[in-house]
């Protein structure tokens, strides 16, 4: 763990001295996790790739502000989370307009049942998650979709453990209520 962290910091230092090869290594090492994080917020493949690219570019410009006491991936993830939330905030107004004209009735076209069920389930989950207030959505994504530890999330969001426990408590409660409601609406299960 410490090894990887110091390794990252060595690369960061070289990148700061202008070595783009070092930064490329950092990108290669962490891109999967950053893409995943972006996708769990945006739920759109191409937008997530753009967000990941944007995250690394922002990180590059801010390398001098990276505190070596922290984990580099946690720091990157924090930039990514903020970027994604920003994008969602900006897209929200546009989205509200768009969905009004969209056909929201469930797609009943024939398909192997379990395949479509699995797909529908996870996109329904993403829909619910995205409808939640940002504070709760963020901790739910980081804890339950990204599987990060309490320690990592506290560091990433700069909140203490009891605030985090509280938010997770509320987030799961809210998610469960929305999930149950949704099932009733669509008559699932």
């Amino acid at each position: 763990m410490t090894d990887i962290a110091t390794d990252d910091y060595a690369l960061v230092k070289r990148a700061m001295q202008g070595s783009k090869e070092s930064f490329e290594l950092l990108v290669k090492k962490h891109q999967n996790r950053i893409c995943q994080t972006a996708y769990s917020f945006l739920h759109d493949y191409d937008a997530s790739l753009d967000a990941a690219q944007e995250t690394f570019m922002k990180a590059y410009k801010a390398l001098d502000r990276f505190n070596p006491e922290f984990n580099f991936l946690t720091w990157l993830s924090r930039i990514c989370v903020n970027h994604c939330l920003d994008m969602l905030r900006r897209a929200r107004t546009a989205k509200t307009v768009c969905t009004e004209n969209m056909d929201l009735s469930p797609d009943t076209s024939a398909a192997p049942e379990n395949v479509i069920d699995k797909k529908e389930t996870s996109s329904r989950i993403m829909e619910i998650v995205q409808s939640m207030p940002a504070n709760y959505r963020t901790v739910l994504i980081l804890k339950d979709l990204q599987d990060l530890s309490f320690g990592e999330i506290s560091e990433m969001l700069d909140i203490n453990n009891s605030t985090l426990r509280w938010r997770l408590h509320m987030a799961r409660k809210l998610f469960k209520n929305l999930w149950t409601q949704k099932e009733v609406v669509y008559g699932k299960h």
Binding site: K28, A134, L145, I159
Partner: protein, 233 residues
């Protein structure tokens, strides 16, 4: 073993899902579930929702991502800080001007149409909510609370809210809560700010259920007190 009622059991459920409860709460919840079909159904709903999340997590992890390192490196600025290109600067200026104009018109309309509305607080993912309008007086319990400032948090080595006043002969006084006590948890929910106490209080007061407070006294000693909320009718 403590016997808990349904609202308390329900409040324990979210963190029970992945084993993040304290052991005695976990034991109390398990015992309650054995004798309460409603809560057993409720926990099934939680479990179902949690399984859904887990499925989404696995699917998320199975998505294949391309190598974006070339894209990233190609998009990086050169070692010297780059001046923004001219057309872009013009665009930005124009954009800034348009934004300012829109804001001014918006503000004007807002001022005429909704003179009493204050500016909306921008939503921020990591900042905490504004608590300036939050209720800090709980006459139903007979106490007043205040947020804990940083030096006090450090002194008590815990977040929480401070009880700044307790009325004589009030439920709080009967329960044993004293002035300058710090409330750190209620019914297993960590309390960090007055609005959290308010949320829990509303839930439980409606249901006429008990509130279990974890308290740190001035001298640093910890205690657990219960306030019984009686039925009014």
């Amino acid at each position: 073993m403590v016997n808990i009622n349904c609202p308390i059991a329900k409040n324990l459920m979210p963190l029970h899902l992945d084993g993040n409860l304290y052991p005695d709460d976990e034991a109390a919840l398990r015992m309650h579930l054995q004798s309460c079909p409603q809560c057993a159904e409720e926990i099934r709903l939680y479990q179902d929702a949690f399984d859904g999340l887990r499925g989404a997590k696995n699917e998320l992890q199975s998505i294949a991502w391309p190598d974006i390192s070339r894209r990233v490196i190609a998009g990086l600025p050169d070692s010297e800080p780059v001046e923004p290109a001219r057309p872009r600067a013009v665009f930005r200026l124009r954009f800034a001007f348009q934004t300012a104009a829109c804001l001014m018109i918006g503000a004007l309309i807002g001022f005429i149409a909704f003179p009493k509305l204050t500016a909306p607080v921008p939503e921020n993912a990591v900042d905490d909510v504004d608590i300036s309008n939050v209720r800090t007086n709980f006459p139903e319990l007979g106490m007043r609370i205040n947020p804990l400032n940083q030096p006090l948090k450090e002194h008590f080595q815990s977040p929480g809210v401070m009880v700044t006043n307790v009325d004589e002969n009030s439920p709080a006084a009967y329960a044993g809560i004293k002035q300058w006590d710090v409330i750190t948890e209620i019914n297993n929910c960590p309390i960090e700010k007055p609005d959290q106490l308010q949320a829990i209080f509303n839930d439980y007061h409606k249901a006429h259920k008990n509130l279990k407070f974890v308290i740190i006294h001035k001298d640093g000693k910890k205690d657990i007190y219960t306030i019984k909320l009686d039925k009014k009718d």
